[in-house]
């Protein structure tokens, strides 16, 4: 039994989501191979080899893997899996990267995919949420090669201490279907939402984009927190798209989640209800957010947040 993990990285650093995926793979048992495909990404391959539980790193380096586009990457995974009969599982994190690539891999392998796995019961039985987290399914896969995307927040990251071998994997040809024109990645001075241990999140109660930033940023600074937003706040233009926490945005599970002026729509709760401690500040005592909050403060956020900052 061998699991192949498609590593998420930026050619320099192995993304934390890969560590959660490796942790999930250790629950399956058997050997763990990590595929690091990219451009000039030898440092990432070495980093992957030092992760506990990894038995082998496959390093494929070519210009046409540099942008990690789905078509070439999926073809590489397919050829690797087809070349070695030992593979029983193919895993990737359920991040924007993994969600893009993995279904393409599954179809090339004529396998069904189990998305957003939150628990591994046995090598063929998994748990996953569906209906925006309103239902949980236990599913058994009958495919010879099981393809799983891993909900990263459900697995603590694998630690250091691995001494895996790094093997060079010959690049497959360039399919030439897609080229990257450009990327606009916002440089954050704060922690990344999906990796933050504290998140301060704002909703429509903030009332305007300038207030959203003026109220939340000092609190986030004080707590060393990432800033998130509800869909209502994003749709109203208070915060950029990638701030959105919820079923169709980011799924987060920090140690502390502070919901400010968020009513608590189902779609938002689905994205944050696995947080360890939830604090809600809202002037409406009947807001659904209080039904999931460990600590609720019924107050006007414009006075409560500055008070909170002063008291911290």
């Amino acid at each position: 039994m061998t699991t192949l993990i498609i590593a998420e990285h930026d050619n320099t650093v192995l993304k934390a989501a890969t560590l959660n995926t490796i942790a999930a793979a250790t629950r399956i048992g058997g050997d763990i191979h990590v595929l690091v495909a990219g451009g000039n990404c030898v440092a990432v391959a070495q980093a992957a080899a030092a992760v506990a539980g990894v038995s082998k790193v496959l390093h494929a380096d070519a210009t046409h893997y540099e942008a990690h586009l789905a078509e070439n990457l999926a073809a590489l995974v397919q050829s690797r899996v087809r070349a070695d009969a030992g593979y029983t599982h193919v895993l990737a994190p359920a991040t924007a990267f993994g969600k893009n690539v993995l279904p393409r891999v599954a179809a090339l392998l004529d396998a069904s995919q189990v998305s957003d796995v939150i628990a591994i019961e046995s090598p063929d039985t998994f748990q996953r949420p569906f209906y925006a987290g309103n239902a949980l399914a236990r599913v058994q896969s009958k495919d010879a090669i099981k393809v799983l995307s891993i909900r990263t927040t459900a697995f603590d990251p694998a630690g250091a201490g691995g001494t895996a071998v790094v093997e060079t994997l010959a690049a497959a040809g360039d399919l030439g279907l897609t080229t990257l024109v450009g990327r606009e990645v916002v440089k954050l001075e704060r922690p990344e939402l999906t990796a933050a241990s504290v998140i301060v999140s704002g909703g429509r109660g903030l009332g305007a984009a300038d207030k959203f930033h003026a109220v939340l940023e000092p609190l986030a600074d004080k707590l060393g927190a990432a800033i998130g937003a509800s869909r209502a706040a994003v749709d109203a233009g208070y915060a950029p798209n990638d701030y959105q926490v919820g079923q169709t945005g980011k799924i987060v599970a920090p140690q502390l989640y502070v919901a400010v002026g968020i009513s608590g729509a189902i779609q938002h709760l689905a994205g944050m209800k696995d947080s360890k401690v939830i604090v809600a500040i809202n002037k409406d005592a009947e807001a659904p957010i209080f039904q999931v909050a460990d600590y609720g403060l019924v107050a006007d956020l414009f006075s409560a947040v500055p008070e909170l900052i002063a008291a911290l």
Partner: protein, 249 residues
């Protein structure tokens, strides 16, 4: 250029899913079902491309029971030209749907396909990418902007932490993100017009395509619910409890 749009009939997004007491699944009896919201966005985008003169025809396709014809009529009320229903009462996994869509796309000589990024019932988020793999086409998932000129589609897509822009050679498939567009309001005259548009029904069983499920759902349950905690009197009490009780700050 013909565009294929895949649509799915799902539990309406305003209805809370309730798990059946026998753990066999989610109760859909007597519930409102409607078009998956991401598929509505897909439909709108395709119709805009036709209105802009980029596409010649928009074909909407759904896989499922007879009643999916209603969903296809809604898609034609948005402006799709005609519909194809691959009829089956069997439960379909994304891979099976991708294979059925491949059949239609090949038969119709489609050059561009638009799928929703995920269906809000099974939340799988797979079908569009799987279709891309089966067709050997370029793919761009989570698209928030689409421009087509000549044989190149330039797509802006949402990635973690920002956006990326891809240039794809047609034929290609995209999946829609929420912010790609806002679907138009469906008017009564367009609903009437949609009733007269062509609807082809193909029996899935007659196609000889392997659509048997590969996974078995053993049990479906309600997720563990979070208990409501306490209301604190003021920020001082909140800070005290976070420090001493929860120990998170």
């Amino acid at each position: 250029m013909k565009i294929l749009v895949a649509v799915k009939r799902v539990l309406d997004y305003n209805v809370k899913a309730r798990v059946k007491s026998d753990g066999s699944g989610v109760d859909l009896a007597n519930q409102k079902l409607s078009m998956n919201p991401f598929d509505e966005i897909a439909c709108e985008e395709a119709v805009r491309l036709r209105e802009a003169g980029v596409a010649s025809e928009v074909i909407v396709v759904s896989c499922g029971p007879t009643v999916c014809q209603e969903t296809l009529r809604s898609a034609m009320a948005i402006g799709a030209d005609r519909a194809v229903l691959i009829e089956t009462d069997a439960g379909l996994e994304p891979l099976a749907v991708a294979k059925l869509m491949q059949h239609v796309a090949t038969k119709e000589g489609v050059q561009f396909a638009i799928f929703g990024k995920q269906a809000i019932d099974d939340d799988a988020g797979q079908t569009g990418q799987m279709f891309g793999a089966l067709m050997g086409w370029a793919q761009a998932s989570f698209a928030s902007k689409v421009q087509i000129s000549g044989d190149t589609a330039t797509i802006t897509r949402e990635i973690d932490g920002g956006l990326e822009t891809l240039a794809m050679k047609l034929p290609a498939v995209i999946t829609t993100d929420l912010r790609l567009n806002e679907p138009r309001f469906i008017t009564l005259p367009n609903i009437m017009k949609a009733k007269k548009k062509p609807m082809e029904v193909i029996k899935a069983a007659e196609l000889g395509i392997d659509i048997a499920p590969r996974t078995v759902t053993l049990h479906v349950s309600e997720p563990p619910t979070r208990k409501a905690g306490i209301k604190v009197a003021d920020t001082a009490e909140l800070v005290k409890r976070l420090k001493e009780e929860a120990k998170v700050i």
